[in-house]
């Protein structure tokens, strides 16, 4: 079992009965061996993860961290080196495990000669819908993702954003219970990102479980109930967004006037950042616990306070700090 920097398991909810969770993985590992050089590449090591039903789970990590490897293992496109996993209680790799899931690959590619409507009908039928039902839903979803005006346009003429939308429609057309999206916002303009966010929120409201990987942290912060951070093929932390952000040290910004000549005492150097602006001076405190001492010191030196603003740590701050601490611990090892 991997433990994070706090000594706890990455997934606070240890994997229980596979049938009870939407996604459950135990010791899932994928290593690749080069056929000629026999060099071993560790794609994913000992993943223990559980995603509850109805949850929106964000899977974060830098490029090459193992996000896509995890998703491909879950979908059954890759065979695990060891370990086991279940989707909606069914073992990965089985057809049954894919029956009630929707999947959007990173940078999806489609059959160029098909029209959007034909592709959606095909996708729906492959997921078990009858011809008439598939046709009805294809029309509905084409309109839902904003492509309904040109149903006969061949996919080869679609822009990148349009392809992403048709891919999402194909992932959702059969009302899956679990949706797995690999970088769904990648390459989209702000409007496209907003639409994808709305679709994910809509799925959450329907009770669908959503697992998605992303680099775009503000979106993850906005959408996810919980996130997992994967680095170097290992899941290093899972928690709710609030837990993660709360675990970060809160910074405080103090704005005041009349302090340009006050010198920061030596004991606070390195912990207080000073920014001189035309409208006054701003002190950024790395640790909120020092705010009272700093305020007392400023008032004692004749400064006039204008504002004291706690700076809420963002998911991005958390992600960067975890990545840096992991990098440091590896260098030390």
């Amino acid at each position: 079992m991997i433990t994070d920097e706090h000594g706890s398991a990455p997934d606070a909810r240890a994997p229980g009965t596979p049938a009870g969770a939407a996604v459950s993985a135990r010791g899932l590992t994928k290593h690749y061996r080069h056929p000629w050089t026999l060099k071993l590449t560790r794609g994913l090591t000992d993943l223990n993860l559980e995603v509850g039903r109805g949850e929106v789970f964000g899977y974060l990590g830098p490029n090459g961290a193992g996000k896509t490897t995890t998703i491909k293992l879950l979908i059954g496109l890759l065979r695990p080196t060891s370990g086991e996993a279940w989707l909606l209680g069914k073992p990965i790799g089985s057809e049954a495990s894919r029956r009630r899931i929707g999947f959007l690959p990173e940078q999806p590619y489609f059959y160029d000669s098909l029209t959007g409507r034909e592709y959606l009908e095909f996708a729906a039928q492959l997921s078990g819908l009858g011809g008439q039902e598939a046709s009805t839903r294809a029309r509905h979803w084409l309109g839902r993702v904003g492509l309904g005006e040109r149903p006969r346009l061949a996919l080869r003429k679609y822009s990148k954003g349009m392809l992403q939308r048709i891919g999402l429609a194909a992932a959702l057309i059969h009302d899956p219970e679990l949706v797995i999206l690999d970088e769904p916002m990648s390459g989209l303009d702000p409007f496209g990102r907003r639409d994808v966010r709305e679709l994910i929120l809509e799925q959450r409201d329907r009770g669908t479980t959503v697992l998605f990987s992303s680099h775009i942290l503000p979106d993850v912060e906005m959408l996810c109930d919980r996130v997992g951070v994967v680095l170097g093929g290992k899941l290093v932390r899972t928690a709710t967004v609030n837990e993660l952000v709360a675990s970060q040290q809160q910074r405080v910004e103090v704005r005041c006037v009349g302090a340009p000549l006050i010198e920061v005492p030596a004991r606070w150097r390195g912990r207080i950042e000073r920014v001189e602006l035309p409208e006054g001076t701003t002190f950024v405190l790395a640790d909120e616990r020092e705010v009272n001492d700093v305020l007392a010191w400023l008032l004692a030196n004749g400064a006039t306070l204008r504002a004291v603003t706690p700076q809420r740590a963002s998911l991005e701050d958390f992600f960067l700090s975890v990545a840096e601490s992991e990098g440091q611990s590896r260098r030390m090892a």
Binding site: Y32, G76, L77, R79, P105, P108, Y111, S113, A123
Partner: protein, 254 residues
């Protein structure tokens, strides 16, 4: 069921491919060429027309297999369109059977269209006695192309498009010479002869599907021959697709 859906989609894609239109045009040109060459055939013009017409079906079919079939699975893996299928409740064997069936159906349609062109030409020239043998020739060409398609799909599942094209051509040529290989084997010591016989048994027995000479002389192949060729094609295609499935089942789709 999913195999049928994939076959239908493969057929639809192939139908929209310019390659198929080009192949049909090439067939038409080939038939027209036989009419220009007939006067030079010293009274064998009819035979030349039938022989070239039926050979053209095999040749154009083989060209389509090399251009489309040998890259079919590899291209899907490379372009990642395969994710759209295998992320759904689709077994890898159904995927391969569907791809094979879709391309084989395309080749059957091409063969029938070219056969119909040949029949039309002969009817215009008043040779109605050759219609049944030509229909049988088209059927045999369809069986032969189905077998070669299964071989192409098998190689495509394990190799790159260029290599699978080379392997398919190699096996096609070896298959065409399988009878010669058996005859050749008898000239060697027993150990080498056994290897040659084994090789001849493994390569597709394509001469079994060649009834062009019979058709040119307005003769029909026997029922036993038709049954044997049909069963052989079914068994060989099944074996090739089983091997392809075994290879694809264990393959990581990166």
């Amino acid at each position: 069921m999913t195999a049928l859906l994939i076959a239908r989609n493969t057929f639809r894609e192939a139908r929209r491919d310019r390659m198929l239109v080009a192949a049909l045009w090439a067939g038409g040109v080939l038939l027209a060429a036989t009419q220009l060459l007939s006067p030079l055939a010293l009274g064998e013009g009819l035979k030349l027309t039938i022989d070239v017409g039926l050979s053209g079906i095999s040749f154009i079919g083989l060209t389509l297999i090399l251009l489309v079939g040998t890259s079919m699975v590899a291209k899907e893996i490379d372009k990642r369109t395969i994710y759209n299928l295998l992320a759904r409740p689709v077994a890898r064997r159904s995927y391969l059977v569907g791809k094979w069936a879709g391309l084989a159906a395309t080749l059957w349609v091409t063969a029938i269209a070219m056969g119909a062109g040949l029949v039309l030409l002969l009817v215009v020239r008043g040779h109605v006695e050759h219609l049944a043998p030509i229909a049988q020739g088209v059927y045999f060409a369809g069986l032969e192309l189905s077998v070669v398609t299964a071989i192409a799909v098998m190689f495509s599942a394990v190799s790159t498009p260029v290599l699978s094209a080379l392997y398919t051509i190699g096996l096609f040529l070896a298959g065409q010479w399988s009878y010669d290989l058996r005859a050749f084997a008898d000239k060697f010591p027993p150990a080498i002869a056994a290897v040659c016989h084994l090789t001849a048994s493994l390569v597709p027995n394509l001469p079994l599907f060649n009834i062009r000479t019979l058709a040119a002389s307005a003769q029909l192949a026997s029922f036993d021959h038709v049954a044997m060729a049909t069963i052989y094609a079914v068994v060989y295609c099944s074996a090739a697709l089983c091997l392809a499935t075994a290879a694809l089942e264990t393959r990581d789709l990166k």
